[in-house]
């Protein structure tokens, strides 16, 4: 599959008076495929926004290269095919929702009012399109931001903390919209702290810490390593020892025992073995590895949380 974003050793350095040169983004190799939702995660100050700004051509890399939709970053032709929703965006407050879309549309040479109204309908703001931005709630401002980011029918969307500071209902609305972007074949690059959100919608993620990629890959692969807990009674624990399950822990309970084993093992064979000995399976609980666990693990192992 073609790469929507590709960076090779992309670096951004700043000179600090006392600390010398600081690499905010350090030799970043990133690969985002077309049509996927990519989560870009990291603690505060990890270099997420700096990376996005470099990819958008708003700031310039110190070294390395980056390609967006196959063209070098900063190429104006690419700007016709991408869009950006910054973290906590501010829009000209005197404008109405419709005027805001007209303004951003005019930057693309668009004047079709029907298209603006349709976009406002898509983000469920058509009833409030004559209200000024100053009258909009945070969630409405975020939705009008998403509408402006769809004006040019983009192939690639950069969303910086798209659900930050929103209530659960607005969260859900934005999440559904992002999922609809993937269904429409767009690539979405999300920088976020909302790990549960990212886990729900992203195909692949990269975790950045101190400007360095600490982990990158498919969520399903990165979250491998979960465990399964099987609680049973009426059967000898020695049965489990005979099955030679690697990395298994057995804990004796007042009634029966609990087996804790890696998810790679087939739970059915254990259940079958217990039943064949006339034992009773009380519960089978998969303990899936969560993105939060992976995030904390990765950030901790790659350095102190900045």
């Amino acid at each position: 599959m073609a790469a929507a974003i590709e960076t090779k050793q992309l670096t951004k350095s700043y000179k600090a008076r006392q600390a010398g040169t600081i690499n905010v983004v350090d030799h970043l190799d990133l690969h985002v495929e077309e049509g996927e939702i990519f989560g870009f995660l990291g603690p505060n100050g990890a270099g997420k926004t700096t990376t996005i700004k470099m990819l958008l051509g708003i700031i310039y890399p110190t070294s390395g290269e980056g390609f967006v939709l196959g063209k070098e970053i900063g190429d104006m032709d690419v700007h016709r095919l991408i869009s950006y929703l910054p973290e906590r965006p501010y829009y000209y407050e005197h404008m109405t929702g419709l005027e805001l879309l007209k303004f951003y549309g005019s930057l693309f040479g668009l004047t079709d009012k029907d298209k603006f109204i349709k976009l406002l309908e898509k983000v469920n703001l058509h009833r409030d399109m004559t209200k000024t931005i100053s009258q909009y709630s945070k969630g409405m401002q975020q939705r009008v931001g998403l509408a402006q980011s769809l004006l040019n029918d983009p192939k690639l969307l950069f969303l910086d903390e798209p659900t930050g500071g929103l209530d659960p209902i607005a969260h859900r609305e934005i999440r559904d919209l992002i999922l609809s972007f993937r269904d429409e074949g767009r690539t979405v690059f999300i920088s976020s702290h909302e790990l549960s959100e990212v886990e729900l919608i992203c195909d692949r993620v990269a975790i950045i810490n101190k400007g360095v990629i600490a982990a990158q890959g498919k969520l399903t692969e990165l979250l491998k390593g979960g465990r399964i807990e099987i609680t049973a009674e009426g059967v000898a624990e020695s049965l489990l020892a005979d099955m030679k399950i690697t990395d298994a822990n057995v804990r004796t309970l007042p009634v029966g025992f609990m087996l804790d084993m890696p998810e790679e093992n087939d739970p059915n064979s254990v259940i079958d073995a217990i039943r064949s000995q006339k034992g009773r399976v009380i519960s089978v609980v998969p303990r899936r590895k969560r993105l939060e666990d992976l995030f904390v693990e990765t950030v901790s192992s790659s350095g102190v949380n900045s």
């Binding site: 708003i58 869009s83 950006y84 910054p86 906590r88 965006p89 303004f103 005019s106 930057l107």
Partner: protein, 263 residues
């Protein structure tokens, strides 16, 4: 061209809603309206005082508006992150800067036109003879002040590409005051044969780099009919072209700086 016009019209929309600018404008209009009452406070001809005062108000108020309007222009866009959504669209940085400048100029035009219209109306009512020609003559002042303010706005925008608003405010006001009051002084020093060479070169250097705002202070011939400008049309055209050239130079250097700026 379309992005430039869109950015310019948005800038105007913002400017005419900024309360601080509207209050300053209102104070200016108020001063012009009460100006006829000030004639009795002076021993000079009432008309002379009226003309001088009203032109002074327009120039002073326009100067404050031009500085406030421009020094915050770029830093505000960065601080509020509006610049990110704009520059992520197919908009070049030079288009953004030129659009902002055009917006500032159009806002100044609107506000100065409003004050000038009030001035013309007040002056017309105050005149015994109701001579439209004299009113038209009076309007030459605001026209030249407008070019002066366009130049001042270019200075403000230029500095705003690399300076914080507070530093920019003092620097822009400083350049305006120096260009208004020191330019004639340095001109005299430069032309005086008794000036020591070092001072002469210094004066020449300052005169070359500092925009000459004093050129646009054309109120004397308007206020006092005995003071005349030889070949008025040519003079006005000359200083307008001077202003335009200076504005272009400032904008080009500003664009070069802004193009490399990390926003």
């Amino acid at each position: 061209m379309r992005p430039i016009l869109a950015i310019a019209s948005t800038t105007v929309g913002e400017a005419i809603r900024r309360r601080v600018l509207l209050v300053i404008l209102l104070i200016g209009v108020l001063f012009i309206v009460v100006a006829p009452g000030l004639g009795i406070l002076s021993a000079r001809s009432e008309t002379t005082v009226l003309r001088g005062f009203m032109l002074g108000v327009i120039q002073g108020v326009s100067c404050i508006i031009a500085v406030i309007l421009t020094v915050y222009m770029i830093p505000n866009e960065i601080e509020r992150r509006t610049i990110y959504t704009i520059l992520s669209k197919p908009v070049q940085r030079w288009q953004f800067l030129v659009g902002k400048y055009l917006g500032a100029v159009l806002s100044l035009l609107l506000m100065m036109a409003m004050m000038s219209a009030v001035m013309a109306f007040v002056f017309f009512l105050q005149q015994q003879s109701k001579n439209v020609g004299e009113v038209a003559d009076l309007m030459k002042g605001p026209m030249m002040y407008f070019v002066q303010m366009c130049l001042l706005a270019a200075v403000g925008i230029f500095f705003s590409t690399f300076l914080a608003p507070l530093v920019n405010f003092f620097l822009t006001v400083g350049v305006f005051l120096m260009g208004t009051f020191f330019n004639p002084l340095f001109q005299t020093l430069q032309e005086n044969q008794n000036t020591v060479p070092f001072v002469k070169y210094f004066a020449q250097g300052v005169n070359t780099f500092l925009p000459n705002f004093a050129n646009y202070n054309v109120q004397n011939p308007i206020i006092n009919p005995t003071s005349v400008i030889q070949n008025e049309g040519r003079y006005y055209l000359g200083i307008t072209v001077y202003g335009l050239v200076y504005i272009c130079i400032l904008l080009i250097i500003g664009i070069l700086i802004f193009d490399r700026k990390e926003v």
